[in-house]
Symmetry: C2
Subunit: 301 residues, 2 copies
């Protein structure tokens, strides 16, 4: 699982800080999460192939999370994309984008499929053989979802020496991977666990931006491998956090602790702070495994 | 008159090339002309004060000319702008922007005034004591206007030695500047031209992007101090120009020659070309005073 930060600052794009956008690589999928202004240029900078992006998840319709989307779609069109593109985001996103395509008289030449969200409880919005995506309803000034990306548990792994020793025919290998007991060439029943090993642990990534401190998300993100939680402010500005629907680094860490996640990645920093190290220090007072999102940085988990 | 090029490439923003946006300083006005994605970052890079921009002119609703506008307006809002902002652009621009502000639940806290254009002949759209702005209807794939920015002729200049010698009371200086003859302290009628000099020549800037070769603009832009004319292609790709509603460098030069303008600035280059010098060479075969728009470049006229 690989996470690339394209932008991790709040509010307005500046020369060296960019609004929110991330790319998650998980089980051969490339998911784009949020799409602030300039995201298409960040994708180029980070050499992420446009055609591999088939699913874009938009948390909410504030500009710093979505104003780069129409430009990205237009660029896909100009590059004569054929691949279909799925957009998941709050109700209204379809109207917002289609009015702009209509006024430019520039309909896409690839299928553009909208999945508009209105649910206020966690909902399964994407699923295939290897991955599930669930919403994480957040508490912000407008309707906002985080997203939980979960690998599905893979197949069991053959202990090939044990398999051969137990004289099992190759025709049964797939059954073994699926966890079944099988008969060997001598008609003897072989217990699955004696010839296979457990699958790799299924990883998960919980993306939570933007939100005030909101304990209702804890059961949804429980035990996630990685939690990205916004930390717009430091504790010294906690008074600003609640009215603006944002969190402090300490609050993010408190959520990480209570949800017992593996790692916490902080981001969505207010541009009022000139150094990011205070965010890490503050969060580490509560939770151990704290990482700082930074533009252009890639994390592997 | 000062022209700063924020972006001068066509189609899609890239790491080092930006879609169309320009800033024209003329008689103390700062006019923003077109606003492709990322324009707000370019304004910061070029240290142009956001608050001095009170009028934005949008030629047409293709993304590379307008997708930076919603982000710029949002940033103005976040910076608690109070100054009113006038947007001039094709009908539809108001709906396109307001739907996005509505979905973000982020109405501006400053007056946002739309001047939607539908006329197909050149129209006066802005006027004050020192400047006029007229549309230049262009020929493109969708409804598109260029803009002609014209200084108004200023006051005549006093030849202060001649004025004193002619014994004219200071009370009459303003009348002299306005071109009237006056009486001197001895009751003698003094001819205006004997004590004043002509005003500075009124300058003008004609902005024409995007358009195919279109001679109908010539009477409108005649004798302009500076013509910016798009040159998306070189002559070798002339076959692409007409169907896409664009021009070649040579066609731009032909318009400059026929309109007898002072200077021709080329821009809106297709990103297929790796060097810009061919644009200049091609245009100079037809017209003498050719300049190349380049990101971050400022021209003074």
């Amino acid at each position: 699982m690989k996470l690339t930060i394209l932008g991790c600052h709040s509010a307005t794009p500046r020369v060296n800080t960019h609004p929110t956008a991330q790319v998650l690589e998980i089980n051969n999928h490339i998911f784009l999460i949020d799409c602030g202004e300039g995201t298409q240029v960040r994708l180029r900078e980070n050499k992420i192939k446009f055609n591999r992006i088939k699913h874009i998840f938009i948390s909410h319709l504030h500009g710093d999370h979505v104003y780069g989307l129409i430009g990205l779609i237009s660029t896909f069109r100009l590059l004569t994309r054929k691949t279909e593109l799925h957009i998941y985001g709050p109700k209204g996103i379809k109207e917002m984008l289609t009015i702009q395509l209509k006024l430019a008289d520039s309909w896409t030449n690839f299928p553009l499929l909208f999945h508009e969200l209105t649910e206020k409880t966690s909902t399964l919005i994407f699923e295939d053989q290897s991955v599930e995506v669930h919403t994480i309803p957040l508490q912000h000034r407008i309707y906002t979802n985080g997203f939980l990306f979960k690998e599905k548990e893979g197949e069991r792994k053959l202990d090939i020496n044990a398999v051969r020793k137990a004289k099992i025919d190759m025709a049964y290998y797939q059954k073994l991977k699926q966890g079944f007991d099988v008969e060997n060439t001598e008609g003897k029943r072989i217990k699955n666990s004696s010839v296979t090993k457990p699958p790799n642990t299924a990883k998960s990534y919980a993306y939570c931006s933007d939100t005030s401190y909101f304990e209702a998300i804890i059961p949804i993100i429980k035990e996630a491998t990685v939690l990205y939680h916004e930390a717009t402010f430091l504790e010294q500005h906690e008074n600003l956090a609640l009215p603006t629907g944002h969190s402090t680094a300490k609050q993010a860490a408190r959520i990480a602790l209570k949800a017992n996640v593996g790692n916490l990645v902080l981001g969505h920093y207010s541009t009022r702070y000139h150094s990011l190290s205070s965010f890490k220090e503050e969060a580490e007072m509560i939770f151990n495994n704290v990482l700082l999102a930074q533009e252009g940085k890639t994390f592997s988990f």
